[in-house]
Amino acid sequence: MRVVVDLTRCQGYGQCVFAAPGVFAMPGQEALLYDPDPSDEQREHVLRAQAACPVQAIHVDRLAGHVPGPRPYPYPAADAGDGFRRSGRIVIVGASLAGVRAAAVLRRDGFTGSLTLIGDESHEPYDRPPLSKQVLTGRMPLDHTTLPRLRDLDAEWLLGQRATGLDVAGKRVRLADGREVEFDRLLIATGARARPWPDEAEAALDGVCVLRTIEDATRLRRRLETGNGRVLVIGAGFTGSEVASVCRELGRPVTVAERGAAPLAGALGKVIGGIAAEIQREHGVDLRCDTTVMGLDADADGRLRAARLSDGTTLEAETAVVALGAVRNVEWLEDAGLAAGVWGVGCDAGCRVFDINGVVTDDIFAAGDIARFPHPAYEFQFLALEHWGNAVAQAEIAAHNMVSDQTRRWAHLALPVFWSNQFGINIKSVGVPTFADEVVIAQGSVAERRFVAVYGYRGRVTAAVTFDQAMWLEFYQRMIERAAPFPPDFAMVGRPAEMLPVPAEVPPRIGVAQGATVVVTGHDPSERRATLVRRPQ
């Protein structure tokens, strides 16, 4: 059986752990780990856990089922009147979370035409978040990450096939083997890949890894299992920090080299990043901030031996994990005439893709890590998100809009939410923490590592981040949606003795390699101009 927990909804009630302790575990106060492919003898327990979840975040053998609560718009979608829902042709390029979720929603909402999914990985689609957590610790076998019930989905699967081009006028997708696939409507969901180490020769050394795919996870897991030398993590974004956490859990010595002033600073700013730094050091991480890795050295057999750091030291390391963020898979769209660039493919809030002049297309949609869309809560700036929850939510909206006429379309206006598990702590975020000038600890205690940090920009609340305090997150989400004044000044439970807003110290302009997972890419004139973006060489 296949289990997926929507960890953006999970608030850490732990009811699933009571019901199925063999499948679900909470290593800390809130952080939930689970086996997505439990054995059949666990079925009864898993169904009990699913029923017991107070926020109904557990999906068993499905990826798009019932959506709780009344819908804001008519649902399911009405037919556009041209018979498209009955006999149209939809092609989805990208067969990971967003693509698969969209396919499931299309079928759920009554699309009976032909459905084709094209994916460059040859495996069945799988869930990525466990790869940097329970898979890497060895708690869970690698092959347990497959996404639920895909064989039942009536679709043509072209797996292991890379899309290499798009002919918008001719409505055709070109594949690497020269084949062409025709469509009436297209969903672009090609996501992102790990940014490789810039020096190709060094990147090829035995012991230099990235972490994005199941192959990456297999390789890294094997190295963590068999070796005992030092692990060097290059980049202290969420992936890098989670890898460092796993290394410490396994008792491995680990050094984290971060170019910025603190871990997670690209996503959460330097103030909260500073707390993350303390946590890393408490757990025995050799954390070196403001430090760049200048080069990687090999022994005579081509095995990684050491790294040269900008602080002048040389560090012996057995494994290096390059965690420098992601590169969006836009190369295949280079000549398509769409608004595709390093930040992804521009689309409207209804997931319809813009062409290179900023004119919206009718039949081409985007969702997931590849999509870049305007958000009204952030002055209509374009957001580019690399979040599990965003892929799921946006894919549903894209799928809905693909089969709906213009009076029934939905807008993707949900606030960004993401989570990370590291060093036994569940970090959750709502809103855009980098869209901030100040931050304040509004509830809890930094010393106890249980707190709520609220971010403000020009006097209104724009984001909140919790460390093991997820149950309060909804409250702050509503404050963001209502543009509530910052700093929050309520009498409330768990309020610290002193509430002192300090500069958030978020990066002023985020470099593409800094590993932020939420970025506001701006709407200044230089970015609005339609220019053909070439892959950075």
Binding site: Y13, E448, V493
Partner: protein, 409 residues
């Protein structure tokens, strides 16, 4: 008497058997002021307030009097964590959870399954030779108190004493109970406190693997719990987990007897008890409302401003019948896909004992369904207890033709 508010009519005992039409009336105004109290009845608003840090669970009399007047705590002890706010609430609950559930003790409740099954089998075996029983007194009442004794580690020979104290404490929750009952409550409370304290001492000297041993020997890694806080917590588990579970089981049997097709399906497929209990928690929850929370600041909600200092009542059972959230809310439908009910509350005060209550009720209802031959209600509606918040039948007389042997015997 047209002036009487909807909320007053809900509190009126004559409406205890079926408050649901009144809840529908109440929901027409999501936040309504009734004297000084703000009554909230719609799903969305209640979920918001359950996660609103501007709401306190500390009662004024607790602050003023030093000791607790709340029924969940014993006389002379500090208020239990259910009546406290962070950070104290979080600390005490966290220490208690260390030994009750995840992360450290995930198997504690599941580990009681075998023992609880045996208790259920024994209670139903006791029906042999009879054709009429009171589901409350003969079944639903003894089960939770025995369960809590097993959990805490109260020796079997003391269980009967424990049961007497438990009834005295629970009896006084009923506002109509009177001064004599209150005197018995205080006496029982002092005796129970002395007993628990003595048991805690014994477990400190010689731990024996039960919850009380674990609490008393806790190493303080997640924060310390004083002896008084420990005794408060233990009595909370006893009292708060008692009446509620009795009502859940009794409401469950009543609902099944009113829906014979569901009873029949449960008899044929015991696995159905899992979704059925969730639907029961939505449809006939034992905790109908959280009567007393306090606004620490002005709170704007659903077009109303609840002023600082106001008492807030969250009518969970009305929210769970909110048609804005659940389609056909008045239909009992265990196949309902959406199980996001508020039967156990939500937010940081989410029912601590929920996993135990679920386990007990699942075992109880599936056993009653499979072993009673042709069960039927003697009276519908049955007589109810006074309490509008912890609502449930005082007695539930049922007739049946006989009992079938337990499959395990």
């Amino acid at each position: 008497m047209a002036e009487r508010s909807v909320f007053k009519r809900i509190l009126d005992y004559s409406n205890r058997a079926d408050p649901y039409p009144l809840y529908a009336e109440l929901r027409e105004t999501p936040v309504v002021r009734d004297d000084g109290r703000y009554v909230v009845s719609t799903y969305r608003e209640i979920v918001e307030l359950l996660h609103d840090p501007r709401i306190s669970s500390i009662r004024e009399e607790d602050v003023a009097g030093g000791g607790s007047a709340g029924e969940e705590s014993l006389p002379g002890l500090p208020p239990a964590f259910i009546r406290r706010d962070p950070p104290d609430h979080d600390r005490i609950r966290r220490v208690a959870m260390r030994h009750f559930g995840p992360p450290r003790s995930p198997g504690r409740v599941e580990g009681l399954r075998g023992a609880l099954s045996e208790i259920v089998v024994g209670l139903i075996d006791g029906f042999a030779g009879r054709t009429q029983v009171d589901v409350v007194d003969d079944f639903a009442y003894p089960l939770p108190v025995t369960a809590i004794c097993r959990l805490l580690g109260v020796p079997t020979e003391d269980e009967s004493r424990f049961r007497v104290w438990a009834s005295a404490l629970v009896e006084a929750i009923d506002p109509r109970a009177g001064a004599a009952a209150e005197r018995r409550r205080v006496e029982a409370g002092l005796e129970l406190r002395a007993y628990l304290n003595e048991l805690a001492e014994a477990r400190l000297r010689q731990p024996s693997g039960d919850l009380l041993s674990a609490l008393v020997t806790d190493d303080g890694a997640e924060g310390a719990m004083s002896r008084d806080e420990l005794l408060s917590t233990a009595s909370l588990l006893l009292v708060a987990g008692h009446e509620t579970t009795v009502n859940l089981i009794t409401n469950g049997m009543l609902t099944l007897l009113r829906h014979p097709a569901e009873l029949d399906r449960l008899r044929r497929d015991p696995g159905r008890v899992v979704p059925l209990v969730e639907e029961l928690l939505r449809y006939e929850p034992p905790v109908q409302m959280l009567p007393q929370r306090i606004a620490l600041d002005d709170i704007e909600i659903a077009g109303t401003t609840i002023p600082k200092g106001a008492t807030i009542t969250l009518v969970l059972a009305a929210a769970d019948r909110d048609p804005g959230r659940f389609p056909e809310p008045d239909r009992f439908d265990p196949d309902r896909a959406d199980k996001e009910h508020l039967g156990f509350g939500g937010g940081i005060h989410f029912c601590f004992g929920a996993p135990l209550a679920r386990l007990e009720t699942q075992l109880a209802l599936s056993a009653l369904a499979s072993r009673l031959e042709n069960p039927r209600l003697v009276a519908d509606p049955p007589p109810y207890r006074e309490n509008a918040a912890l609502r449930g039948p005082r007695h539930l007389l049922i007739e049946f033709d006989g009992i079938v042997p337990s499959p395990g015997t």
